[in-house]
Amino acid sequence: MKKFGIALTLAGVAVLAAYSETDYSRFNQPLSEDQQILHALNRLTFGPRPGDVETVRKMGLKKWIDQQLHPERVAENPEVAARLRPLESLQMSAAEIATNYPPPQVLRAMTQGLLPLPADPEARQRAELQMQRLRARREAKEDGDVKTKAQGKGGDRLQQAMRQQVMSVADPVERRKLIADKAPQQVLPYDLNEAKLYRAIYSNRQLEEQMADFWFNHFNVYIDKGADRILTSTYERDAIRPHVFGKFRDLLEATAESPAMLFYLDNWQSVSPELGQRDINQRAKLRAKAKQARGLNENYARELMELHTLGVDGGYTQHDIIEVARCFTGWTISQPNRGGEFIYNDRVHDKGEKNVLGVRIPAGGGRADAEKVLDILARHPSTARFISTKLARKFVADDPPPALIDRMAKTFHDTDGDIRAVMSTMFDSKEFFSEGAFQAKVKTPLELVVSAIRASDAQVDFAIPLSMQIAQLGEPLYRKIEPTGYSGANSEWVNSAALLARMNFALALADNRVPGSKVDATKFADDPAAVARLVLFHEASQQTLDSIKKALAQREPTPALVAGLMLGSPDFQRR
């Protein structure tokens, strides 16, 4: 009788455990060799191209992954350099960008003779034209009779479509000039969007491009917030890209002192609250220098801990936020709208003692105060977990098994935050190559559009229509307003408007109705199963095949239609 009671109790505990814990058993079920190859391609790249599966099989999966983790060992596709060449702003410093594509403030300064005109004759001509327009607009406005343009949506869309058609047949250099003359402030987002898509589509260093996207999104800035229009290009190039596989501490510092981040999260305006105690004249002078600065700004300090390092439950308090903000006073920018550089301004730095997450930072410090904060945060166990979890959510599944996170976090800790080593731990794990991870992710809009281009082997000579498609699917590139970046969760991308837009895009792409992209549909058969193998690189689901077959029974099948249906199918939305 007694024994019986114990047995019952144990059974009850087992039942409770089964109900209270998520079932991660699918992450123990291995994949076949073919599945492994396809899975790795789906996760490390923006989707396989024809021939990729064979290449990986021939090279060996392990070696291929290792190469992707060391992009310098992968010979780059010459198509990338050829397409990036005309996008001149990518090579410029922020100051050169401000001169060559002047925002209104710089134009005004040029008009008043406070700043020299661009040396480059074309840029100079452009600036002069802009100054004329600015004057004309001001005069018109002063008359008070500006007719605000009718904003009928149909008209706009028609114009836009016509513009895209014209642009897509123009030579890339001419096309860019057209934009520079008409709307110089659009050139920078234009170059960035084009470059991002060409790299995602054509680069052989696919994992590096995925990681550049991942880290930009993790340390998000918003290109339409004031000076970030001219600062975002150098941010991605100089702060993000060099460190995507490097030490987390280096990446963190690069973003912390980037003008783009200092501007985006307002730290450039944050000054010591103690300034109020000092001589009133000096205070006025300092204020005039730092324009609107009125005291401490907690914005960056908060996001640094919540979004960049520890995570929202990472164990910091409001007091820590204030202390970190005090440490970062004086980290500012010289003339942000003119593409200024990071400077440390000791005069507005809070010199008092601080205490960050239990670590005392003695009084009288300077720039090193914030360096110390970055050390503490980069080496904090919460950071190791937070970053590991975010990587696993991107590459494994929305709800990755805790055991995997533990091992990744341990690598993070043991290697002092070596991102490449953490990635290796993840790619070497049984969980990565498991049923639980296989096809578990819904493609983001960027991944969906680029994978469709790659799968159909489309030729892209003008990527802006693609970036507009991506925006319509809900992920306008470089235009995420919130510092959180885009969510990678499946739920974010599955909604009615987005799904319709995905299906419409698929049909339009295969039918060559997306300007700037050309698909050779003759390579597709009209047999759905054969087309599925070409674009999905595996068999389509029976439901998808049946639906297409039923439709084709009623009309003359065309290869383009079959390909479009396959690219819009539920099967193609997963990776």
Binding site: G144, V494, L499, L507, S541, Q543, L561, G568, Q573
Partner: protein, 411 residues
């Protein structure tokens, strides 16, 4: 009116075939005739860029207003179009908003002045974010107040929450299904050769996530197609302005009148950031006047088009913050603090300017430059959520805002 409703009903039900129409659809379609009250609808309009509230609802009874704004101040009401439209002897509407005056006079439009977000930020981007998430000062909130405002229920319409535009705005995002529609006439699979096939693929898919969303999508498409068949003719001879807001409100009106189960809608208007040349040759013309003309014209058209249907509808407007009380050196205004909101509809207790007026004397200004805030925007939105939409869980719609002070604008 009733014939058209009947037609739409049969058209929409016909899409599903006999006996297969989902419960929400029949409920939505027959709601008009049902004995119990129809669902309430809330339409939120965001004026992005920070509208200059002091020139929208003008405190002409305030002497300081005229000394702070020598070039910008709207003259005291003199019954000409170059002066404010008197509301109550102290406040007046910008003359470009004259089309709204009849709604105010009918007692169905309330104005709240010196209202806004208590967060001190003067960043457009932060302030919009806070106003849409409904949590000033908290950036990590992932969903928006308008999504949380939807009352919990099962079996609801696929178009219960609609935002006009290509993406879902922050205010609309969250757990509840919400659809972004750029244009009702274009909410479909454009290539008819693909439509049925995609529907069959997604409806039969074993992929639970895509199957669910796919079903919802095609249900919404069917509902919207039942609307698309008829060209839209606004009632009462209304002609909507061609402006983007005018067209968006027309589509919202169309959804409302089609009885497809709409509960919350969102539209926006940009361009209010008037740092330079806010006014033209006179204070009553120029940039702001043009914008307000579009704004007021669109709202008035919506109100007249809906007619009796406004009994179920409330419209509320907001903007991220106000502008400096003092004009700047370039005939404009800079980023400020408190602002003005409009609310109108059948159950709005209007004909009144709500809120405590803080005054414009130097010592009465926020940080010596802006209109002080005397009403939290969540008091206004919260009251609409609770008393208009009937969602009693206001605390979960505005988390962290424990004690809202409703002003009694809904009754």
């Amino acid at each position: 009116m009733s014939t058209r409703r009947l037609f739409l009903k049969s058209a929409a039900l016909g899409m599903f075939g006999v006996g297969t129409a989902p419960a929400w659809l029949s409920r939505a379609l027959y709601a008009a005739d049902a004995p119990r009250p129809r669902k309430k609808i809330l339409v939120a309009i965001f004026q992005r860029g920070a509208v200059d509230g002091l020139n929208v609802v003008v405190p002409f009874g305030e002497k300081q207003y005229y000394s702070l704004r020598p070039n910008l101040a709207i003259p005291k009401p003199d019954r000409t179009e170059n002066s404010a439209v008197d509301l109550d002897g102290f406040f007046g509407l910008h003359p470009a908003l004259a089309p709204l005056k009849p709604i105010y006079d009918s007692g169905h439009m309330a104005i709240v002045h010196a209202v806004g977000s208590p967060d001190p930020t003067r960043s457009h981007f932060d302030a919009q974010d806070y106003m849409e998430s409904g949590t000033p000062g908290r950036k990590a909130t992932s969903d928006g107040w308008l999504n949380r405002a939807l009352p919990a229920q099962r079996d609801s319409s696929p178009v219960r929450a609609v935002s006009l535009g290509t993406t879902l705005p922050r205010a609309m995002r969250g757990q509840n299904e919400a659809v972004a529609i750029a244009n009702l006439n274009d909410f479909q699979i454009r290539d008819t050769r693909g439509a049925g096939t995609f529907e069959s693929m997604y409806e039969n898919s074993l992929d639970q996530v895509l199957n669910g969303a796919g079903r919802e999508t095609f249900e919404a498409v069917k509902l919207v197609q039942s609307i698309q068949k008829q060209p839209y003719a606004p009632d009462n001879g209304v002609q909507y302005p061609t402006s983007s807001l005018g067209q968006d409100l027309m589509q919202i009106a169309r959804l409302i009148k089609s009885n497809v189960g709409l509960e919350v809608a969102f539209a926006e208007m940009r361009g209010w950031d008037t740092h330079v040349n806010e006014v033209g040759a006179r204070p009553t013309v120029g940039q702001l006047a043009n914008l307000l003309g579009q704004f007021g014209g669109a709202l008035a058209a919506f109100y007249r088009d809906l007619g009796d249907r406004m009994a179920d509808v409330s419209v509320v407007t907001m903007s991220e913050f106000g502008r400096t009380a003092r004009e700047n050196g370039s005939r404009g205004t800079d980023h400020g603090h408190a602002n003005v909101m409009f609310a109108f509809g059948g159950d709005i207790r209007g004909g009144k300017v709500y809120g405590q007026w803080p005054g414009l004397e130097q010592e009465q200004l926020y940080e010596q430059r802006d209109l002080q805030l005397t009403t939290d925007f969540r008091d206004v939105l919260g009251e609409l959520v609770v008393r208009h939409l009937g969602n009693v869980r206001a605390a979960s719609v505005f988390p962290g805002y424990e004690q809202p002070k409703f002003r009694g604008i809904v009754g």
